[in-house]
Symmetry: C2
Subunit: 220 residues, 2 copies
């Protein structure tokens, strides 16, 4: 019985990692579509979101089934609850990739506003945070989780930089306004991806250490 | 034993509703601060978010404790899992209220761009959706849940309208750009509040009917 439970937990973990991989790649593809001006890729990201959402429902069901059949305690119970939370964040990462793709399809109807440098940088950072947060979860590594949270400020800084630069474009030339607003929104969506990675990392830290590092509870 | 469990479930439900009330009021206050140009209210919303986050952690812990001590099955297990998901949405509603307040504090440093009509309308709609989604949950009312999901399109339509109008302002007068972008972002944040209400309603529908009405699974 116990061996069977451990096997199912392992399989749950694998499904979560597979979902995380798809979500993280969707963000990468969404930004690639924007940078390389490839509408096909943007449309593929929007389509792929259905797969991410199916993963969410299936993993949630697997969690409930495990709880109902094995009535796990303490550590295992918290682990399953954590999976339940992480799938929620991953599903929303998928939504952000869709949002970016929708902006991209609109941006591709007009000429390129400017070469995009900070947006792919921000995307790479957010993707790496997501990977590291999942690694921290799998290895129950509190220090790695803490490091993810620290990098959130760097993403915020890049986002502010993107925002300020695009404001300058708009002020100089009103013809750039629609495109600049779309790019500002892409920046926001990437910031949200990093926020989800941070949420996951904060939860991992709490799971491992039993104490919180959430800013939002510290009141700053 | 069973009576005690039922009492604890009832208390869990009450705590969830109390958290929902705070989150919903935060959205209302955040928009009031913007419309009435009251920085004090905006700052209070940012401060209140700590209380919302504490509620989240406490309700999650209460869910885990119920699962560990009573090992509930079938319907009760799903109910608790649902509470676990809803607190997550509510916490993010609180985050949106904070985001709106941050935009407001920036907007209050400059003169009013235009009288705000659609934004309070959108806020009222999103708040009502949130209330109705929670009512649907408490009464296990699938039809009410379905009605919440339908209203999401109206919020999206209002948001597009706000966006288009602000684009016109910016194009006519570059001095309005910073304020217009801030108001566009407020629109986005309110759209997200409505999305969270829709998430909750979709989950309620699934809990009651055992079948999904999520667009995102239907692929449209």
């Amino acid at each position: 019985m116990e061996r069977r439970f451990d096997e199912e937990l392992r399989s749950l973990k694998e499904r979560l990692l597979s979902m995380a991989g798809i979500a993280e790649q969707s963000v990468g593809k969404a930004v690639k579509a924007l940078v390389d001006r490839q509408a096909e890729i943007a449309r593929a990201v929007i389509k792929d979101d259905i797969a991410i959402n199916r993963h969410e429902v299936e993993i949630e069901e697997a969690c409930l089934s495990l709880l109902a059949r094995y009535q796990p305690e303490a550590k295992d119970l918290r682990f399953i609850a954590m999976v339940f939370k992480i799938v929620n964040d991953l599903e929303r990462v998928g939504d952000q990739a869709v949002n970016i793709s929708e902006r991209t399809l609109e941006l591709l109807t007009a000429p390129l506003l400017k070469p995009l440098i900070d947006i792919p940088k921000m995307a790479a950072l957010a993707q790496q945070m997501l990977k590291d947060a999942l690694d921290a979860f799998v290895n129950q590594d509190a220090e790695r989780a803490r490091a993810v949270c620290r990098r959130d400020d760097e993403v915020d800084r890049l986002n502010d930089q993107i925002y300020q630069e695009l404001l300058t474009y708009m002020t100089r030339d009103p013809d750039t306004i629609t495109r600049a607003v779309d790019l500002i929104l892409v920046g926001r969506h990437l910031e949200r991806v990093a926020d989800h990675a941070t949420n996951i990392a904060e939860d991992v830290y709490y799971l491992v250490r039993g104490t919180t590092i959430k800013h939002r509870l510290a009141g700053d």
